[in-house]
């Protein structure tokens, strides 16, 4: 499952507020998804209102301060001009008559506004981080809860990588956007409108000059952004291809070397590497020139305002402080435009992410509708009664299949690799429901019980030795929470787990990590056997395959399996001749279907698929 781990996206290039990233994927139904996401936040409606009000206030103060501070400059300038005039008039002036009281007053106001803006800004972020984190918390909780209600077929039809990417990347996108983007939209909009308003109040002529730069900005964004998106997409694609080559050739290092393919691999790599280089420096370049170009547009506006404004001040039409303020506004003017353009992209990507998560949440769930099949009195443990089965809409694999299993019997399931031996397990455990007929456990159709009730009767030991990240003790206890410590230790001893666990420095408190690099594969298998012991089930499902373990461990595993099988009804995916020969019933499978059923003698006498399979082990005319 290693490949599922690399699902987190790699960030390419530095984060740059003006850079335009890869093109966002578009949501299918924007507003519907937004409404649904909003419904997750609806409990925080008052918090949201507060956030929006605070954001607006904070931005408004931020916008107003340059104008107020500009008044101070005007006062200084006025004093300065009076002083100069007095000097011209021949009056000796040591100190220009600047109105310091007025300035003090203005500065105090500005200072208070800044403080208020800072406090509002902080409170707004403080509240928003709680709202966004709690919202994502709920979303994550709901997605996880959904995982419990999805049928196994969903897991079989979707790759873990796909589900993980929704649970991680898409969730991260939403968290990030809720945290940042919503307030940014408000801030940018308020700033833009506010700045425009302030500019108008200072001088409508100068404002027109400022507005004239907007089309220029739009042209820059309009031309450069799509080009940049295209290049980023190309870079991303090339990077993906290159990373694939790296993974492939490293994973197949032995093969590459033993086939003398180092040079061809390098050649191919260098080719893709050169493509990546070309795409990525261009992407960097194009996204990098947006900022200087926007600055240029801004500076042009700035210059013209300085010029016209200056002339007006000189003519006495406008106060100097107002020009100072106006120039500061000019600097703030283009920022919200670029920011809003970027936000549009981010928000679109986020809604698409939310859509992918809701898609999972909306998947049909398992239902538990009872069927109209009456219970029967029987001493059979399991009855497969005229059973039909096939996956999803595919053709039926099993038709009208019948089998009766007495308590204590062992049923072997055999067949070549890929014959669909797990299908039988899927049906018994009710991971899938039959399409027709009935499976009866103690005479009762299993669809008339809850799935938990069915599974209470079973324990499984599979080839895939799944254990969770936790201590060995907790993993053992997993199958039966009410097991006492003595029972667990007894089971561990019976399954040959106790001896190696005691050699570990932390004993039963050893934490198994995900790759389980601290214990061997064979030891993992022994733990899964012990786990099944602790469940103490009536019916056992067992996959005998032991993959690459040393001879001693293998003997232990077989030994433990034997003990586990004693006095239990069992279904065994059999790989050992002894198991097959000793089985009370053998289900022979090929290409997904059951081809023969019977005991060893019956099947050999039939001289069919089973006999063929069995005899192939002794072919080569060597008697073993």
């Amino acid at each position: 499952m290693a490949k599922d781990k690399e699902t987190t996206t790699q960030s390419v290039g530095p984060k740059n507020p003006h850079a335009v990233g890869p093109k966002a994927s578009k949501p299918k139904n924007f507003w519907k998804t937004v409404r649904r996401l909003a419904s997750y936040m609806s409990v925080y409606i008052w918090g949201m209102v507060l956030v929006v009000i605070l954001t607006i206030l904070s931005s408004v103060f931020q916008v107003m301060t340059p104008a107020v501070l500009g008044q101070a400059t005007t006062v200084i300038y006025k004093g300065f001009m009076t002083g100069v005039a007095q000097q011209k008039a021949g009056i000796q002036v040591d100190q220009f008559p600047i109105d310091f009281d007025k300035i003090k007053q203005i500065i105090l106001i500005v200072f208070l506004m800044y403080i208020a803006s800072a406090i509002f800004g902080f409170v707004q972020q403080f509240v928003m981080s709680r709202i966004s984190q709690r919202t994502v918390y709920k979303l994550r909780r709901d997605l996880k809860a959904k995982m419990k209600r999805l049928p196994i077929s969903y897991y079989d039809e979707h790759s873990n990588g796909d589900i993980m990417s929704r649970a991680i990347n898409d969730m991260d996108n939403i968290a990030g956007t809720l945290q940042q983007s919503i307030t940014q939209v408000v801030t940018s909009t308020v700033t833009f409108v506010g700045v425009l308003f302030m500019m108008f109040t200072i001088s409508w002529q100068l404002t027109l000059i400022a507005l004239a730069t907007i089309p220029l900005s739009l042209i820059v964004i309009g031309f450069v952004a799509p080009a940049s998106q295209k290049l980023f997409a190309r870079q991303q694609k090339s990077l993906g291809l290159l990373n694939n080559q790296v993974e492939e050739n490293y994973a197949g290092h032995v093969v590459v070397k033993s086939f003398n393919h180092e040079r061809t691999a390098l050649e191919k790599f260098d080719q893709e590497n050169a493509t990546l280089y070309k795409a990525s420096w261009r992407a960097q370049m194009i996204s990098g020139i947006i900022m200087p170009l926007m600055t240029l547009v801004n500076n042009l506006g700035y210059v013209f305002i300085a010029m016209f404004g200056g002339i007006q001040v000189a003519n006495g039409g406008i106060a100097l402080g107002n020009i100072q303020a106006f120039l500061q506004y000019m600097n703030q003017f283009s920022q919200p435009i670029t920011q809003l353009a970027n936000l549009a992209n981010t928000i679109q990507a986020t809604v698409a992410s939310a859509e992918r998560i809701f898609e999972v949440i909306d998947e049909p769930e398992m239902n538990n509708d009872p069927v109209d099949i009456p219970d029967i009195e029987t001493d059979k443990k399991i009855i497969l009664d005229h059973m039909d089965f096939g996956y999803a809409d595919k053709p039926l694999l099993m038709e009208d299949y019948n089998l009766q299993v007495d308590p204590g019997e062992m049923v072997a399931i055999v067949g070549p690799t890929g014959a669909g031996k797990t299908t039988v397990i899927n049906l018994l455990e009710r991971f899938y429901d039959v399409k027709g007929g009935s499976i009866k456990l103690d005479g009762r159709d299993i669809r008339n019980m809850s799935r938990e009730e069915v599974r209470q009767h079973y324990a499984m030991v599979l080839q895939d030795t799944w254990l969770f990240t936790g201590t060995i003790y907790d993993n053992l206890k997993y199958s039966n929470e009410s097991a006492s410590k003595e029972e667990i230790l007894a089971a561990a001893k019976a399954a040959h787990v106790d001896s190696f666990v005691r050699q570990l420095p932390d004993g039963y408190d050893t934490v198994l990590n995900e790759e389980a690099s601290n214990i061997s594969q064979g030891q993992r298998q022994l733990i899964t056997i012990a786990r099944a012991f602790i469940a103490d089930p009536e019916i056992l499902i067992l996959d005998e395959a032991t993959s690459s373990v040393d001879t001693r461990t293998e003997v232990h595993i077989q030994h433990a399996m034997q003990r586990l099988l004693q006095n239990r009804t069992s279904f065994v995916v059999a790989h050992r001749l002894s198991t097959i020969r000793d089985a009370d019933k053998i289900i022979v499978m090929n290409e997904g279907s059951i081809v023969e059923t019977g005991n060893h003698e019956e099947l050999m006498a039939k001289n069919g698929f089973y006999a063929d399979l069995y005899n192939s082990q002794f072919a080569g005319n060597v008697a073993i």
């Binding site: 002083g83 968290a175 240029l296 991971f431």
Partner: protein, 569 residues
């Protein structure tokens, strides 16, 4: 960090981008100066003509700034991406030519991360450096100088402001960085539990532990969310504080400035210019503080990359390699082998001599040394004492490329490459015809699922089952014309019947008949019909002979039979 960059970063591009950066900084520093002049000489004196000329000068300087910064971006992106390209290529080459010992020192996923993510980290830092970080000190010095020139006395405001800024940023980082690190851990835990829920879905449901899983996830989710809220609360404090410091600076400048103007020690226009310079100074401080975040991260990546690049190659190349000739044969003569730095011999006293047309089977438990033995044939490792001969020539006298032409290996784990069936088969021999390929697929029992040579093979062969991949890997090895074919436990993923058919077809093939076949197996049925069976136990050769001979007088072999036929006890 420096070592990684040296020789891979185009110096001229770097120098060029720095030069243009300096031009850009000087030009942008000059702009407020012109604004000040407009106020001082134009507005205050009422000279409209001066304003227009100064305006023109500003436009010129703006255009110059943009041109310089475009040139800077152009060179910086080429330099940084070029560095990434060179670094990736060097790493890939190095790893590709690694011998087994060297490759084993790292694991595959770590090497992949080093070649991809770590290089990306370095590349990103270089972009930041060339485009922003270098600017910070230049801007700092330049703006400081200009501000000092405008009004020396007023620069004392920075004595208050800069420490305040440093303290705020430092304090926030001090508290936020450990929380950010913790957040990474908590994210990993959250993802881990979610992933385990997917991989273990059958076990979880079979043992009715869904609620346990939900609770486990809830714990991690609570933990993560609480930490995230803490982190963002701290970050939320930073922005208002910094804005406040910057705004405070402006207020301070206005207050102090008004007094200097009143004293006639400063002109009005210089007040506005000073404010701009002050903002530039504070900005460069902010950028500089970024270095403290980025550099440690990049140097960790650089260290990981250097570890790979510094690895020295072990197997010495043969000065005058001998040429392989003669009939196929494989001989081990008193071969002893020990892994690098190991105390115990991994193999001792291995002796056998196989002629063309013969099959050698090797059997033994895991850890008995089967794969180790196989690895000595293509000289993945060198024996400590004793000789391995291919077609009569000592492998130590041969270079690995020639050896690999003679030895065709199917490794334990089947590896396929992205492409088509054909491209994978041509990997064995690039001039193989379609007929050759079909023939090989036929022997490998792969024709039952392959009907088109152009069928796609996904990365890692993910669109095929384990058994199918194994058969394709066998076919690929058969496409190659070699003297020795080695199958390292390649048949265990196959069912008995396919295993048998494959071995029968292999025996019947005229090409294979002229070579030596080595089969490593776990099942007695797989090895039983070999000409010679070598029984390994704990690195020692405990038996060599036919199935009949071994069955009669070899204890280890009898035990193996016992365990497989009777199923334990």
């Amino acid at each position: 960090m420096f070592k990684v960059v040296r020789g891979r970063l185009n110096i001229w591009q770097v120098v060029g981008s720095i030069m243009f950066m300096i031009v850009q900084v000087i030009a942008s520093l000059y702009l407020p100066n012109i604004t000040a002049d407009i106020v001082n000489n134009g507005i205050a004196k009422g000279q409209t003509g001066y304003i227009v000329t100064a305006g023109m000068k500003m436009i010129f300087v703006s255009v110059l700034t943009v041109l310089a910064s475009i040139c800077n971006v152009f060179l910086a992106s080429q330099a940084s991406q070029g560095l990434g390209r060179n670094l990736r290529s060097d790493l890939f080459r190095k790893v590709l030519f690694f011998s087994h010992d060297e490759f084993d020192a790292f694991d595959t996923s770590s090497l992949t991360t080093r070649t991809t993510n770590d290089v990306m980290q370095i590349q990103n830092v270089i972009v930041m450096m060339l485009r922003m970080m270098i600017m910070a000190p230049i801007l700092l010095v330049g703006a400081g100088f200009m501000a000092y020139q405008k009004n020396a006395a007023m620069t004392k405001i920075f004595i208050v402001v800069i420490p305040a800024l440093v303290i705020v940023v430092g304090t926030v980082m001090y508290f936020a960085v450990p929380l950010f690190k913790a957040m990474q851990k908590k994210t990993d835990r959250l993802n881990l539990i979610f992933r385990e829920g997917l991989t273990g879905v059958r076990v979880i449901r079979a043992f009715r532990q869904d609620d346990f899983e939900q609770n486990r996830f809830k714990g991690a989710n609570d933990n993560y969310t609480n930490n995230a809220i803490k982190v963002y609360t701290i970050v939320a404090m930073m922005v208002p504080f910094i804005t406040l410091i910057m705004s405070g600076t402006n207020i301070g400048i206005t207050w102090l400035g008004s007094h200097y103007i009143a004293n006639q020690s400063m002109q009005v226009g210089n007040l506005i210019a000073f404010m701009t310079y002050a903002m530039q100074i504070l900005m460069s401080f902010m950028i500089l503080s970024l270095i403290f975040v980025l550099i440690p991260r990049a140097s960790a990546s650089a260290a990981r990359i250097n570890e790979v690049l510094d690895k020295q190659s072990q197997i010495d190349t043969v000065a005058k390699p001998a040429k392989i000739k003669g009939e196929a044969s494989l001989e081990f003569n008193d071969v002893n082998f020990r892994y690098l730095g190991a105390e115990k011999l991994a193999l001792s006293n291995i002796n056998f001599d196989m002629k063309k047309g013969q099959t050698l089977a090797i059997i033994g438990g895991t850890g008995s040394g089967k794969s180790t033995l196989i690895n000595l044939i293509p000289r993945f490792y060198d024996s400590e004492t004793g000789t391995v001969r291919i077609n009569g020539t000592d492998v130590k006298a041969l270079n690995t490329e020639d050896i690999n032409h003679q030895v065709s290996l199917v490794p334990q784990e089947a590896v396929l490459f992205k492409g088509t069936i054909r491209s994978n088969m041509l990997y064995g021999r690039d001039d193989a015809t379609d007929d050759d390929i079909w023939h090989a697929l036929d022997i490998a029992q792969a024709t039952e699922f392959v009907d088109d040579l152009d069928a796609k093979v996904e990365q890692g062969g993910d669109n095929f089952s384990g058994g199918q991949k194994q058969r394709l890997a066998i076919a690929r090895a058969l496409v190659k014309n070699a003297s020795i074919y080695v199958f390292d436990d390649s048949f265990s993923a196959l069912d008995f019947k396919t295993d048998l058919n494959l071995r029968t077809a292999l025996k019947a093939d005229p090409k294979i008949n002229q070579s030596v076949v080595v089969i490593v197996g776990q099942r007695v049925s797989t090895v039983a019909d070999a000409d010679q069976i070598l029984v390994l136990d704990n690195g020692k050769m405990v038996g060599l002979g036919t199935h009949q001979e071994l069955k009669e007088n070899n204890k280890t072999y009898q035990e193996i039979i016992e365990s497989q036929i009777k199923g334990g006890k």
